[in-house]
Amino acid sequence: MLMFIVRRVLAGIVLLAVISIVTFGLLFLDSANIARRILGQNATDELVAQKSAELGLDRPLAVQYWDWLTSALTGDLGRSWFNGQLVSVSLSGRLSVSLSLVIGATLISAVLAIVLGVLAARRGGWVDALVQFISVIGFAIPGFLIALYLVLIFAINLHWFKATGYIPITDSFGGWLTSVTLPIVALSIGAIAAVAQQVRGSVIDAMSRDYVRTLRARGLSSGSVVYKHVLRNAGGPALAVLAVQFIGLLGGAVIVEQVFALPGMGQLTVTATTQGDIPVVMGVVIAFALIVLIVNLVIDLAQAALNPKVRLS
């Protein structure tokens, strides 16, 4: 079990290293022109050269990367080229907003998807047809469109929620709840649809297994068989889909944060992208990759907890 975790962590570190090299390479490849882009097309060559030297862009790419990496390992991701703020500081301030949304959406998706998926698999008939239909529609419509209409209906027309802005959970729990409810709903719908489909399929598959008949032949109630045995065996594939959906939710959060004007990672990314603020973009990419790797590790551990074959091999 320990070896399993160590192996996963090592694989994650390698992946993170490669992502950082590739991203750094792509972002800084054109380093000769970066200073000109910042200063504008009319800047003199001397000014551009001076700016390049100031930002350290005149050094070889490998040296620049090494520099970035050694600082990054101490938690220093450099400074924004535009407002001079430490990238690590901007990131940590915004992380809580984005994680509120994504973790909230993931939990809600998991719970609702299990309820809907099990319901569809056990009941069959029109319940199944309805769940399937809702899943298809929920899967097909992009999350940000749902977000737009939630704003239009619930914030602008009904005034139930504020259309924009974020209230930290530390200030007021109720306020935080009203500021994240609509974004979380918008994010969750697609994930619920995808995971519910998987839960439904895996539950139907697991229910047709011989051991389920044998367990019922032992006189166990069908509730106990479904919620203990069937769900545990169906959980693996559903978790795998949830992991994929989580990555999708991180991307979705970028747009949804824009719609609701929430000061999260997404907003930081969009601003940095439009400005060409490369240190910030680099920091954002690494932060996202790190979150994904941590979540994948958690999912792997959950898989191992569910499935003894994973744990023991």
């Binding site: 054109d30 737009l148 239009l152 106990s224 990314t269």
Partner: protein
Amino acid sequence: MTAIEVPTAVPTPAMKTSLMRRLVRRPVSLASLIFLILVVAIAVVGRWIAPFDPNVASLKLVLATPSAAHPLGADSAGRDVLSRLLAATQITLAAALVAVVTALVIGVISGLIAGYYRGWFDSVASWITSLVMALPGMVVLLAARTVLGPSVWLAMFIFGILLAPAYYRLVYAAVTGVRGELYVDAARVSGLSDLRIIGRHILSVVRAPIIIQSAIITGIAIAIQSGLEFLGLGDMSVPTWGGMLNDGFANIYKQPLLMVWPSLAIALTAIALTLLANGMRDVLERTTVVRRRRRRAVTTATGSIAAVTTSLSLSGGDLDALEDSAELPVIGDTIVHPDDERTGALDAAPILTISDLRVGYQQTQGEDIEVVHGVSLQIRKGEVHGLIGESGSGKTQTAFAVLGLLPRGGQVTAGSIDFEGTQLADASERAYAGIRGKRIGYIPQEPMSNLDPSFTIGYQLVEPLRAHLGLSKKEATDKALALLDRVGIPNPKRTFEAYPFEVSGGMAQRVLIAGAVSTDPDLIIADEPTTALDVTVQAEVLDLLRDLQRERQMAMLLVTHNFGVVADLCDRVTVMQQGLFIEQGPVRTILRSPSHAYTQSLLDAILDEGPARGPLITAGSAAVAAEGGRS
């Protein structure tokens, strides 16, 4: 690059027509298809049928409400919304196509190479796949835009690379599945080049799934592209659905209608693509399900007729065996032999009485299929009753009917099952409470698949003990360990803590037997308990069953297709053929002087010195022979 190039992803006409014909019969799929054709048509001609130049702004028309001249109104710059919507269709679709074609080319080619040749390319490609999937696509696109600028084409090209794993995995899985097949080996031996094998045998397998995947991916590409443009990160000089949405959202308070048109275009197209993909998958799965079930029916040929019936009902064809039996005249009574001195000594009180039992399977189309045609049987207390017959004769169905565990769609359609005064025919779950698993135990056929792989063996023994006998965890554990010891497991503690996949098949069957007898039932239903085991283990398990039965004085219904097992264990036996009981009586009588020709042929099949086996005697001719024999 225009939308007309779609056919690159479309398969050859022959395959398309068969899929298409079935597809257009489904109203939802047909509607989606018509809508998408319309969208593609607009993408091609939209620019020319637009009433105004989509880029000409008019100050007079800023945020104009719909009018006769401008049916959808005008945007924040005073440009005609309808014209922009028509023109945007082309760019949006073409950009999505860039992503799909990029993903298709990269994913399919690398999937083919990795799956077919394996080796280092396989490992590298799989690793890159996990790399690409470790980042949210939107973040990668934003990072790329920092360097590459706001080009929708470049963004969609990069997004295509990010989507390639979807095709890669599909093709890879299909290729690794197919490359081991005999016909691919045969093609290789016969000297076909790798390229032609891939083209002929492998691409044909993945073609349909690729089309389905493409529909889904097109939807995703449109969504992501619109998302980028909605963020204001797209190329604002060309009209796109996402760009229009951006303008609409910016003016959501002044003119909410502006947002409606592009979002309708995006949502309806995405829904149509998904519904079409789902329709195609359903149509395809319907055919593959039949194939898969048929194979399963063959592998479980030792007993379960359920697999056979479901496969037959879906395939529609080769119903011969069942239809024949359904059309047969009901053959009078089962030939019942009187007790001999041994069975006469048994307690005469019945524990289970089955009368005129019929089992049928509901069909979604057409009439129900009946698999057991009115059978009667009495098992006395402490009696071991054999139920013998060939595969598909309905013996397992009879056993499951008693347990109330018929597969989905199956039910008792007539007759009664009386278990010591409780009516179990088509009974509710409540009627079975306190009986199934408590007073009736069940030993399945295939030991490995009948233990839940996610729980330890001990847990699976303890759980029913606690539920039925109300034991504490400690008491139940002690009892389970004692049972494991009793069924001859050398190290009960270790097996108790093991998972099912950590023990051998023989051990697993002993565990299942221990589970079945753990609540001291009065009746055991054993469904071919030794069929799946090695010959040496079979004898040991039979010995164990006999010992346990004598020790606990349990009655047993032993389903088998082996007269050797019957001779070894049973007091009385019932011979079953094509859903009917044809002969019933004490084992010795039937072994020595079978009356029915079918029983005779079954016996001949196992007796070394018996005459050479003749052609299989069907129930019809057998009945004639039996009539002759009796007269």
